[in-house]
């Protein structure tokens, strides 16, 4: 038996840990472009902010789109609920609330991760230290994930937490693609300039896929392949299809455990079936941006439906 409030806490705990990690990757990718390109880094930072869903809030506070401001806003600013620091704090507060549902190792990894990042992000970050700090964020979240996978019983507690991870991940990957959808359109794919190469690599880098892409496609970056990889590859751990495979699976475990099906099961299975039955050509033809916008909306709806079906509030 699990309290609805606890299920809610587990779900958001993992959503925020996932968010903190993705934020670090996103900044990493932005930084790479800003370092390798001499002009117009501010466009890149703006798209990083858009992918992070933080462009509006940033504009209210800053006018300069440079590494210093953006990294500070996305990593340290407590007024930005998705900043690494704010996300870790929310994750930790949720973990504290659901503590009895976590193994000691999982709780300690979250608590220690929060303490260490809080220390590290206490002062504005020297640009030279940025890569080290980003590494530390990825490391802390990896340790959390490691203790979670390594010690948690595979029961409903695990299922709700995992739902949070994959709903957040699907959202993040879809946003990254949507912000850059225009560089992936076939109409401009012939350009193949070094600028596009950077853009493509940046997309892959922000989902930690710039190396694994080559293992799968064995060729240069091709926009169609990149879109296919991040949307449809069922083995790529940050793709939409991969995320939905696990969302559907964890919901199915819950249905078996509780001997009850809910509307959220329908939504997840429908989305998964659609992803499995689609070719990248179809998506590009009917509009990549429309596809992604639809997906993001449906994904949000799934989150709300899960909350309703399982008594989160």
């Amino acid at each position: 038996m699990l309290l609805g409030r606890t299920a809610n806490g587990l779900y958001w705990m993992n959503r925020y840990i996932e968010r903190a990690e993705n934020m670090a990757r996103l900044i990493d990718a932005g930084l790479r472009i800003a370092l390798t390109r001499t002009q117009n880094a501010s466009d890149e930072w703006n798209s990083v902010l858009l992918s992070a869903g933080a462009a509006g809030a940033f504009a209210e506070k800053h006018s300069d789109y440079n590494a210093e401001n953006v990294a500070d806003f996305l990593m340290r600013d407590m007024a930005n609920p998705s900043s690494v620091l704010a996300a870790m704090e929310t994750a930790r507060n949720n973990a504290r609330m659901v503590r009895t549902a976590l193994t000691r190792e999982t709780w300690e990894s979250i608590n220690e991760g929060w303490m260490s990042l809080k220390r590290m992000l206490a002062e504005p970050i020297d640009q030279r230290e940025l890569p080290t700090v980003l590494d530390a964020i990825k490391r802390e979240t990896a340790i959390i994930r490691g203790s979670f996978y390594g010690t948690m019983l595979r029961n409903e507690i695990f299922d709700f937490a995992q739902l949070g991870t994959y709903v957040e991940r699907a959202d993040n990957t879809a946003r990254i693609l949507d912000v850059k959808y225009y560089v992936l359109l076939p109409s401009i794919s012939w350009v193949g300039s070094s600028l596009d190469n950077y853009q493509w690599e940046s997309i892959l880098r922000s989902v930690a896929a710039h190396r694994s892409y080559r293992w799968v496609y064995e060729a240069d970056y091709r926009p169609t392949s990149i879109a296919e990889y991040l949307i449809l590859n069922v083995r790529m751990p940050r793709s939409l299809t991969f995320s939905y495979r696990f969302i559907a699976e964890h919901l199915r475990f819950l249905a078996d455990d509780y001997s009850a099906r809910h509307p959220s099961h329908e939504i997840a299975e429908r989305t998964y079936a659609r992803l499995r039955g689609t070719q990248i050509g179809d998506i590009l033809e009917s509009g990549l941006h429309e596809f992604l916008a639809d997906f993001i909306t449906e994904n949000n709806r799934l989150g709300e439906q899960v909350a309703q079906d399982f008594g989160f509030h």
């Binding site: 038996m1 009895t100 300690e108 608590n111």
Partner: protein, 470 residues
């Protein structure tokens, strides 16, 4: 006034309970001990054993300082203490039952009627209510001080929602991690089974109409409460749900919690929420921490609330001064454990005495706890005493006064080696169809030299408490 030191009393030499420990300690490298002290702090911070201090900003994550020198009690000393505690706890429950039913003790004139009638801790809603299994106060923390080899006194009874038991358990756990060799050498009675005993105890007082295994839950005010760590810890260790008011509602005449599969009935609620917040329909209407309608369920006998509402009337500081009479009235025997002489400032003669002797006395609020709002006369400045005197004159019935006792001391490890500090002791008592006391308790220690205030909210620390198996 030289305090009695429990390890090395003046002129008497090392006390027997400490002999084996002292033998071990002599062979320790002081640098290693200092290192262990740091290890202990790391363990506590890592596991998140923190508490909040009200009224301090950004203090939501403070640690209670832990000292690595154990406080050691001999087996025969402990047996005497437990007899006294059992007697007291029986009397407390008998008193509560009487106060909410026939009020024989008032009729007999042993406790003044107005003390009950005008007391905020007395709940008229509990009159005539028979709690499941007839138990009112299920979990009690009795604060005991020692002033000499053979003199123990009860400082106060905590019959509402006593806290601190998680520290007793974590302190032992930490000591076992830091000094496993000590426990091989010295036979210390275990405290680790407290959560199981608590669960059995709560299970035994389930409503009479619950036949199978009862569903138990711990009710917390939430994760921002100062004792949240303990609430979560106990729920976890017992393997029961930790619920908040927002998780609960009354469904079909029972209290039920919102789960991922709908609402599920609760039979026993170990609540760590004060009476006033328990039921907005009966008590404070603005409370969001409780359950609307739970008192109706309770009166219908469909849930056990531990501790029962209204138990505060038994640990009120004004009632405390009548405990010797209360014990004698219900058990027919003299108290085994003494009370500290207490002046009730509501009585004009006493008030006069207290005002004239403020510099020697400890004055406490009748309803206060946690060391807030008290005056330690000898330690206070003249100005503090004068200000307190005005408060006292304005609301005399709000205060009681006691002599400044020379609490016993125990050594703690300081930068300059061992040094004596004042301590008290809170053993934890469980009442169901029987009374159980785990051999040990929470030893609180005033870390400042000479200080008599042991409360964690006022800079006190804790120690592991050993009851020897001898």
């Amino acid at each position: 006034m030289v305090a009695f030191d429990e390890m090395l009393p003046a002129e008497a030499g090392l006390r027997k309970p400490y002999e084996a420990y002292d033998g071990w300690l002599k062979n320790q490298d002081p640098a290693r001990l200092t290192e262990k002290m740091r290890d202990a702090e790391r363990v506590f911070r890592k596991t998140g054993i923190t508490f909040a201090v009200y009224g301090e900003r950004d203090a939501s994550e403070r640690l209670i300082p832990f000292d690595i020198v154990p406080r050691i009690i001999a087996g025969n000393e402990w047996r005497r203490l437990t007899q006294g505690i059992e007697q007291r706890v029986q009397a407390l429950n008998a008193f509560l039952d009487d106060i909410y039913h026939r009020q024989e003790i008032l009729r007999a004139g042993r406790v003044p009627r107005e003390l009950i009638a005008t007391n905020e801790a007395f709940l008229p809603e509990m009159i005539g209510v028979k709690p499941p299994a007839g138990v009112y106060t299920h979990i009690i923390g009795v604060d005991i001080v020692r002033i000499s080899e053979n003199e123990f006194y009860v400082l106060e009874d905590n019959a509402r929602t006593p806290s601190g038991v998680s520290y007793m358990l974590e302190n032992r756990e930490t000591m076992l991690q830091l000094f496993p060799e000590l426990f091989q050498r010295i036979k210390v009675q275990p405290v680790e089974n407290y959560p199981q005993l608590l669960r059995q105890s709560l299970s035994a007082v389930r409503p009479s109409n619950v036949s199978g295994v009862p569903t138990i839950a711990v009710l917390t005010p939430g994760s921002f409460n100062s004792a949240y760590f303990e609430h979560a810890f106990l729920a976890d260790q017992m393997g029961v749900q930790l619920v908040e008011g927002q998780d609960l509602r009354v469904v079909d005449g029972h209290v039920a919690m919102r789960t991922t599969e709908g609402y599920k009935q609760i039979d026993v609620l170990y609540r760590r929420v004060d009476d006033a917040f328990l039921d907005p329909l009966t008590f404070r209407p603005d409370s969001a921490l409780g359950v609307p309608g739970i008192m109706d369920v309770y009166r219908a006998g469909n849930i056990t609330i531990a501790n029962a509402p209204g138990t505060g009337i038994a640990d009120d500081k004004a009632i405390y001064s009548y405990m010797p009479e209360i014990i004698e009235f219900y058990t027919g025997r003299k108290p085994i454990l003494g009370n500290i002489p207490t002046w009730r400032c509501s009585e004009p003669d006493s008030l006069k005495y207290v005002q004239e002797h403020l510099a020697e006395l400890v004055v406490k609020e009748v309803h206060g706890s946690g060391g807030y709002g008290m005056l330690v006369g000898p330690a206070a400045t003249k100005k503090e005493r004068e200000e307190f005197s005005k408060k006292l004159a304005a609301r005399p019935s709000n205060y009681i006064a006691q002599p400044t006792l020379s609490l016993s001391t125990c050594p703690i490890l300081t930068a300059k080696g061992l040094a004596p500090r004042h301590v008290d002791l809170r053993p934890f008592v469980l009442v169901s169809d029987r009374i159980q006391i785990v051999p040990g308790g929470l030893t609180r220690v005033a870390l400042k030299e000479g200080s008599l205030v042991v409360n964690s909210s006022q800079g006190g620390g804790t120690k592991d408490t050993w009851v020897l198996d001898d």
